[in-house]
Amino acid sequence: MKARRADNPVTETVSALLIPFMQIYALYLIAHGDLGPGGGFQGGAVFAASLVLRAIVFGLDADEERRYERLAGACASAGVLLYGGIGLLCMLRGGAFLDYKALPFADPKTAYHLGVYGIELGVGLAVAGALLLLFMKTAGSRDD
């Protein structure tokens, strides 16, 4: 993908400015999910978009490509495991799957909020990982 690098100072400068804000906004969306519009899916998609933008504008060498792919796969799996893990923890403590009240916190309200944060983070990780993986598999130069 390195050969296809745009080498355009305008896109590079704008992207360099944009990417950190995109990522922070993605984290805000994930964290804000249970109170307003947003959530794990949207946040994950925005985060993946920031990395896709970086890959398109600055290009990736073969080594980075491999690292990106491995990271994306691991994130996708870890997200699912985090989500399922929180659900299982609720079950182990005698509640139903994803019954946050059963989480080991004193106050059910805290338990509920932290439970939702965990779930949204899991969704965000899985979505970001899966989207990035799709991008790498379709646009990447590695043929396997």
Partner: protein, 506 residues
Amino acid sequence: MTEPVLSLTQHIPALLVLVPLLASAIIPFSPARLRRAGGTVALLANAAALALASALAVETFRLGRVTYNFGGWAPPWGIEYAVDPLAAIMLLLVAFVSFAAAVYSRAAAGAEIAHEKLPYYHSAGLLLVSGLSGMIITGDVFNLYVFLEIASLAGYALIAAGRRRDALVASFNYLILGTIAATFILLGIGYLYMASGTLNIADLRERLPHIYHTKTVLTAFAFLMVGFSIKTALFPLHIWLPDAYTYAPSPASALLAAAGTKVGVYAMLRVTYTVFRPEFNASVVPMKTILLVLSSAAIIYGAVMAIAQKDIKRMLAWSSVSQIGYIVLGAAIASQYSLTGSLLHMINHALMKAALFMCAGLMLISTGAEKISDLRGAAARMPLTMAAFTAAAVSMTGIPPTLGFMSKWHIALGAVEAGLWAVVPVVLAGSLLTGIYFWKVIEPAYFAAPPEGHIPSGRGQAPDTPAPFWAAAPAAALAGLGVLLGLAAWTPAAGAARAAGELLLK
């Protein structure tokens, strides 16, 4: 605040979906040097799912109905899992077939799939099982759509794992049609929600009868039926199926043909009999006539196309189109006998088609045979594989004393019971044609001399290699089970199917 503590037995419905899902997320982390780790994890997860499904079936037949409320929210607000006898049978069937496919895959999937792709193959297989189980078990129509998408995406990936480039095209075609189907289903669910304000299936059943004649509900029904017809590959919406099953790796074809399309039919049954009541089909829409015509056409057209095929897997794929016709026909007639027959045929087709696709994989492994013409004299070189193939073919054709005879007999009886005499010759002709296309494979394998210097189509001049035992064992076991279930007439399977059918008609 004291909450009732749930016991392990009460968690089974959730665990049944969760175990394969989490296992599929674990597999990509397995170290590359442990080449078979993915297969082993998949096998263990499937074994666990089979144990859970068995326990759940026992529990369901004891209690009549088992439910599970997610997050502690009571239905109809929260998402509910609801298991009735029909769902319990289907869950057990899916778990059993995918366990057999996992045994096969661990031993022999490497023959058709590149090694670096194997972990992802096993992962996608588990995801498919999780999605299909979810579709069966859920009591919420939107949740049904979510699981449908999980199963579909896993299915596209499984097909694309095939060893030829054609697999990618087949997978892409299926992806386009599958996405149209999923969109239709989502639209249907949206319209139902718009009209009734609820997504819970039991709740929908209560609320819909008052608004059966509204355009919104009729539109919803039409979208749902067309969507599920694509997913089950009901004629004439079957066009994605032959390529997909031909180019997918054999164990994936076995899993998709056995479990994938069956769950589509199950979802169709749920919509027509549980979400909507049988009266709706009888008095509001002429669904029965439409399905009778389409499924009869599917039986004959699929079988005729199967006779015309030269490729083993493509023949089996067209056979699926024909057999799905039988299942839908039995469901469309909607009498006690025909529904029992339809459910028995789901079981029969799932077990037998899984066995047949595994046999096709074994033939490719041991002799490189892909075309029917490569099989001349093959019975001497692979007696167990051909024996399993023949047993499964006999049950698929419907020769007594196999399970296939029981199922087709019930469908024919149901047609007579309902006074639909025109359907009886279709059932019989379909059986006859099924016999013809299987005989085209069995006859040269047993009675023709192997040609000198013939190079099989599947690979070059590589010598015969014996198929791994653990790949042949599940195929033989599945085929044997078909004969066994038929031999013990009025087996628990028949009784269970009857009970499930009775509940549907209520």
